[in-house]
Amino acid sequence: MTSIIIWTIAIITVLGVVLALVLYLVAKKFKVEEDPRIDEVEKAMPGANCGGCGYAGCRAFAESAVKAPNLDSHFCPVGGNDTMARVAAILGYEVKAKAPQIAVVRCNGSCAVRPKTNEYDGYPSCKVKATLYSGDTGCSFGCLGCGDCVAACQFGALSMDPETGLPVVDEAKCTACGACVKACPKLLIELRPKGPRGMREAVLCVNKDKGPVAKKACASACIGCGICVKTCTHEAIILENNVAYIDPLKCKLCRECEAMCPTGSIHGVNFPKPLDKDAVKERIKIRQQKEKEAAHV
C-alpha cells in the first residue's frame, strides 16, 4: 500500500519536472520578441476595452501607440489627459492636453412638450423603429426613446428618464467613449467639451423642419428663428437648415442666447446661479439700443 503511494508521487514529480523543462525550453526557443513598452502602455491604460479610441481594445491601442511616430492620432477618451500623460512618459513623446468631453443628447422633446401622435408597438429598439417610420411623435428628428444609447453604454452613464422619456447622461460616469454616438440612429448625441467646471451651453434640438412645422410637433423645438444668432456677440452660433448650433470653442458662456430663445431649446448646465432671463434681456436691450445710437452717429 505504502509503496503504491510512494511510486505515484515519484512518477508525478518526475513527469512534472520533465514537462516543466520541455515547456521552459519551448518558451525560450519560440519566444515572440515584443516591444516591452507595449505591456507598460497597456498597464497604464484604463483597461475598459471600450473601443472609444478607435482601436479594438486597450492592447490594440498600446501596440499602435508604440509604433506611431507621435501621439497626435491617439487619444484615450476614458483615461483622458492623465492616462495620455503616463503613456507619453513611457514612450518619451509629448502630448497636448485635450479638453475633456462629454456626451450631450441634443433633444429636449420631453413627453410634456412633444405629444405622442401614435403608439409604437413594435420591437423596442431605436434602430428598428427608425427603419419603420419617423417615430411616435410629430417630430421626425427627435429621440425615439427606446434606449439604444443606454444599452450601448458600457459605463452605466446613460439612463432613460421615465418622466421625460429622454436619456440622461451621468456626468460623473460618462467617459466620452462615443459608443452612444454610434448607437443613436437619429444622430442626436454629440461629444462636446465639458466646459469650465462643467458649465456649457448647447442647442438641444436637431429638428430641420421649418419653424411652424417644428413648433407644432414639439413646443421646445428649435424653430430656426435666428434670434440667438443676432444676440450672440461672439459669433458662436451657426444657423443652418432651420436649426441653430453653438460652437463650443467660441461660446463664452454668457447665456444671452439661452435667455432670448423663444422656445427654450437652448440649455445651459452646471452654472452656479439660475438664469435670470429678464435681467439678461434688459441688458441686451440696453446694449442693442446703444449700438443703434452709435450707428446713427
Binding site: N118, G122, Y123, V128, T131, L132, Y133, G138, S140, D209
Partner: protein, 457 residues
Amino acid sequence: MSKHTFSIGGVHPHDNKISRDCPIRPLPLPPTVYLAMSQHIGAPAKPVVAVGDKVNVGQVVAEPGGFVSAFIHSSVSGTVKSIGPRKDLAGNPVTCVEIAVEGDEWDESIDRSEDLVTAIPSDNKAIIEKIRLGGVVGLGGATFPTHVKLMPPPGSKCERVIINGCECEPYLTSDFRTLLEKGEQVVVGAAILRQVMGNVPCTIAIEENKPEAIVHIREVIAKLGYEGIEVMSMKMRYPQGGEKQLIDAVMGRQVGSGALPISVGAVVQNVATALAVYDAVQKNKPIIDNSVTVTGGCLPEQANLLVRVGTPLQMILDAVGGVPESAAKIISGGPMMGKAVVNLEAATVKGTGALLLLTEAETRRGSASACIRCGKCADACPMGLEPFLLNRLCKAGDLEALEANAIQDCIECGCCLYSCPANIPLLDNIRLGKGAVLGAIRARAVAAKAAAEAAKQ
C-alpha cells in the same frame, strides 16, 4: 386542385378577402392633391411646374431624375399651390407638389372613351417610349419603373412574360376586381408586353381562390382570339406574388442570388401594371389613378375605390365612414408586408394598393421568448435562408457572416415572423442587418470603382 406553386418555404395565412364583392367605384375628386416626387424606386422626379401654374389632368408635373426614375403627371386639374416637403404616411418628409383642384379638365391627348382598342402599334420602341412617358411603374408594390424592366441588358433574352395576378397578400382585392372589371384591358396590356419582349409566350398567374377571375380571363382571351397568352391557376401560398417565387412557380426556374429575373428569361408585371400599360399605350392615359382596397373587419363597409394619385388618406377613409373606434392600426398595403400609417394627412402614391384597418386584438404582438430551435422560420423562408441564424448574427453585428449567409436575398416577406412560435422579432432584426450589408456592398463597389480609376491614371 391546382398544383402550381413555388418550391421552398411560404406560409398560408387566412385570405380574408372580405372586400371581394365590392366593385371598384370612383372616389369623388379631392379638394387638394399632393403629388410626391418619390413614388417609385430610384431617383426622385424633378418638378417642372412652378407655383401658380395651371395644370390639366395628365399634364407632366415632374420629369425623371435619372435613368431609374419616372414621370409624374397631374391627377387633377387646378392650380399648383406649393412645392415643398410634406410628411408621408410614415412621417418622413418628401417633396410634394400641392395642387388645388378646379373642375376636371383632361389633357386633350387622352382618349377618355370606354372603347377597347385592340390594335397594338407595331413599333416596340415607340411602345416603350409611351410607357415611359406615361410614368408607368410596377404597381405590385415595388414601383420599379416599367420601361427599365422592358429594356433587358444586352445578351439576356426574355422567354416568358408573367402577369402577376396572384394577390397572395390577405385582404387585398383590387387586382381581383381589376381582373373582373377590366379583364379585356389587362389582356390587351399583356399582349402589348408580350409583343415588346419579342412575341414570347405570356402567362397570367391567378391564385385559385379567385375562380371567377380565372374563368373570366380565359373567356376574354378566347373572345379576343389571342394566342400565346394562357391563364395559370396557382395553388394558394404566400408569398406567391414575389417575383422570384412566381418565376419558380410558373417556369420552374430559380433566380440566383443577386440576379435579375431576366437572367432566367422571365419578365414579371403586375395586373395593375398591365392595365396601366394598356392605358398608356392605347389610350395615352398616364397613371393618374389607381384602385385601392379599403378593408378590415372593424369597418362597417368594405370598398374598392378608384382613387386619383395624391388623394389624402383621410378622404379615402371618410368615404367608407371614417376610422371606427375599434381600429387600432391602419396599414398601407397588406397585413404581411404593408406599412403602418401614422399620418392620415399623407397622400396616396401610385403604389398605394390598399388601406387596411385592424383592431387591437388583430395587431397584438406576443411578447418574445427564447428561440427553441424548432426551425419553423427556416421551413417558411421562401428564399431558403435561415432566419434564426441571421437574427443572431444581426444582433452580433457580424456583417461578413451575414453576407456569407445571403441576408441580402431576404425579400422581407415576413414568413419567418409569421411562423415563429416564440414571437421573436426576426424580420425587424434581419431588416437592420440587410441594410447594413447592402450598405457595405455598395461601399465596396464604390471603393473598387475608385481603385480601378486610380489604377488607370
